[in-house]
């Protein structure tokens, strides 16, 4: 293992997480509950795909084998993808998608804020851009979680179901493996344990207003960062990569 490998792997994980969530949001295209929300969801998707492109570009440079953003996004299989399990979960209904977005951005905002202090200047610069975007994502999704949780009986039930289903993936945000630990020790990656209190406070505040009950901390499903995914990612990538892979070497 060269000294570059952990940085490459870590950067790819950040890229994959942003791309997979951006892709999921793009699946909402033209299907949102209002025209205003179609525009908002497209904004979120564009932010995340933009972040993914910056991370992929940097990962390619770190690797030094000439792979560009598209080679990394389109020509790797699901076992090589290092995204968080939460973000590959299907859109479900609007409550599921907004809960997924809320849980992720409640983590990503303090995480990218911490990453701005990275000793790696490129990661710090990407984080500075992403942090501003995540603040908007957190506000938008948090407001929806409150509206839906504290809306009608039906919307409350759907939103509580979404939380109960997705809670198992929260623990992975904070699960650190040897690759990540090496970068934390080197001052390149933030230590997620240090932002856990802020993350939990955000959830407690929003869920209280939304009259939702946080499920008791149970088993935390991990594996996404190491390429062991749920059944959903393979289908997502099959669709996303089909055209690119059908024309090897073509320029688009």
């Amino acid at each position: 293992m060269t000294s570059e490998t952990p940085l490459f792997t870590y950067t790819l994980r950040l890229a994959d997480t942003a791309l997979v969530l951006g892709h999921r949001l793009s699946e909402w295209n033209a299907l949102a509950p209002t025209l205003e929300e179609d525009i908002a969801l497209a904004n979120l998707a564009l932010d995340l795909i933009g972040q993914a492109r910056l991370f992929y570009d940097y990962a390619g440079k770190v690797e030094g084998k000439g792979r560009d953003e598209d080679a990394l996004a389109y020509l790797r299989d699901d076992r090589e993808y290092g995204n968080l399990l939460l973000v590959e979960q299907p859109n479900g209904d609007f409550a599921q998608s907004m809960m997924r977005q809320f849980l992720f951005s409640a983590f990503a905002l303090p995480y990218y804020t911490a990453l701005m202090g990275s000793k790696d200047e490129t990661l710090a610069a990407i984080a500075a851009k992403a942090e501003k975007e995540m603040a908007y994502h957190l506000r938008h999704s948090g407001e929806w979680v409150i509206r839906l949780g504290d809306g009608t009986d039906e919307s409350h039930r759907r939103t509580q179901v979404a939380l109960d289903e997705l809670a198992i993936y929260i623990g992975e945000f904070f699960a650190v493996d040897a690759i990540e630990q090496a970068l934390i020790d080197a001052g390149i990656a933030p230590d997620p344990a240090k932002i856990r209190a802020e993350f939990e406070a955000t959830l407690a505040h929003v869920f209280s207003e939304a009259t939702l009950i946080m499920p008791k901390a149970g088993y935390a499903q991990t594996g996404g960062k190491q390429g062991q995914h749920t059944e959903h990612l393979g289908h997502l990538l099959a669709e996303m990569q089909v055209l690119h892979r059908a024309h090897p070497g073509a320029t688009w």
Partner: protein, 331 residues
């Protein structure tokens, strides 16, 4: 994205207007003055605009579907981002246009109901399927290109809110058009498979795009009112010819062949001449028997139905919040 294929004569009940007010209104239109929401206007003018502006808005909203078909399969991250952003612009156009229509005294709910019930039309071009990635290029290049031909004159439409919405929309549409052409250029300079994809897309979209301008002037339900009121400024055939003259050289530059053996340049008139358009196809698709008419409407209705509980929750929460704030203020 809209072109005047849907234009039709006002068929509403005749309203006897105050001759003095009508004369003043006609004079303002003749003098190219803008009519604003609070100004007096004849009922037929208002109805014509509501119909046209709302059909334009519906076209933007339905138009999100055929392009949305390729968002999840876009072949590069850059193309994916650009396509999402283009469809987002279309949602935005829908919003401006519904707002412009609302200034004429109809609500967005009424307009949406008219679309969902099938009473209101949308541009027929969206009833054709998007079968390959090249269709994303062709829609930008030809469909948006045709829409621009129609919409540029609308920036000078007599009705102020519509004209102002069109200025903003045209700027974005011309960006979309260039973007679409750039996709075609990339395909045309790419592999033989990519070139074949581009040619196939042109073969499928060329004639439907020419139909976007509506029936020939000789048989169209020509409305002299719309012309006089500065809602419509050019005839269907004039706009179609402008589009053909602008587009044919662009297609040739790409190395593509137009699916029209009769296409030829007339040295005397300096115009490209085309073969006969299949107006039976136009009428059939407009009447509901295109490949995607049923699908587009089913998706739109399903989307409205699926979103109902969300919109209801938002209203319920706003009410609860307002009640709590009132209670706090009272304490």
């Amino acid at each position: 994205m809209y072109a005047q294929a849907l234009d039709q004569k006002d068929k509403g009940p005749k309203v006897v207007e105050d001759p003095e007010k009508l004369a003043r209104f006609e004079a303002r239109c003749a003098a190219d003055e803008k009519i604003e929401p609070k100004d007096w206007m004849p009922e037929a003018y208002r109805r014509t605009l509501v119909r046209q502006v709302s059909q334009h808005a519906h076209s933007e909203v339905i138009g999100m579907q055929p392009e949305g078909n390729w968002v999840t399969r876009a072949p590069s991250l850059k193309r994916k981002a650009v396509l999402i952003s283009k469809i987002q612009d279309e949602a935005g156009h829908g919003l401006y246009l519904y707002s412009a229509a609302e200034t004429l005294g109809v609500s967005r709910e009424e307009l949406t109901d008219a679309l969902l019930s099938g009473k209101a039309k949308y541009s027929s071009i969206f009833n054709y399927p998007t079968l390959t990635w090249a269709d994303m290029g062709t829609i930008g290049w030809l469909v948006d290109g045709a829409a621009i031909m129609n919409q540029i004159p609308l920036c000078r439409c007599s009705y102020g809110p519509y004209a102002r919405a069109m200025i903003r929309i045209c700027k974005e549409e011309s960006f979309h058009q260039r973007q679409g052409y750039e996709i075609m250029l990339t395909l045309a300079r790419g592999t033989p498979e990519q070139m074949a994809m581009a040619q196939d897309a042109l073969n499928r979209w060329w004639w439907p795009c020419l139909m976007m301008f509506g029936p020939p002037d000789a048989i169209s339900e020509h409305s002299s009112d719309s012309m006089r009121w500065k809602i419509k400024r050019f005839s269907n055939d004039d706009l179609r010819q402008k589009f053909i003259d602008a587009t044919v050289p662009q297609g040739h530059f790409l190395g593509l062949t137009f699916p029209d053996p009769a296409l030829k340049f007339n040295e005397e008139t300096k115009h490209w001449e085309i073969g006969p358009i299949d107006w039976d196809e136009f009428k059939r698709v407009l009447a509901g028997d295109g490949v995607c008419n049923r699908q587009r409407m089913r998706v739109r209705r399903q989307t409205e139905a699926d979103g109902a509980w969300v919109r209801e929750a938002a209203r319920a929460h706003a009410k609860k919040r307002a009640a709590r704030q009132a209670l706090q203020a009272a304490e």
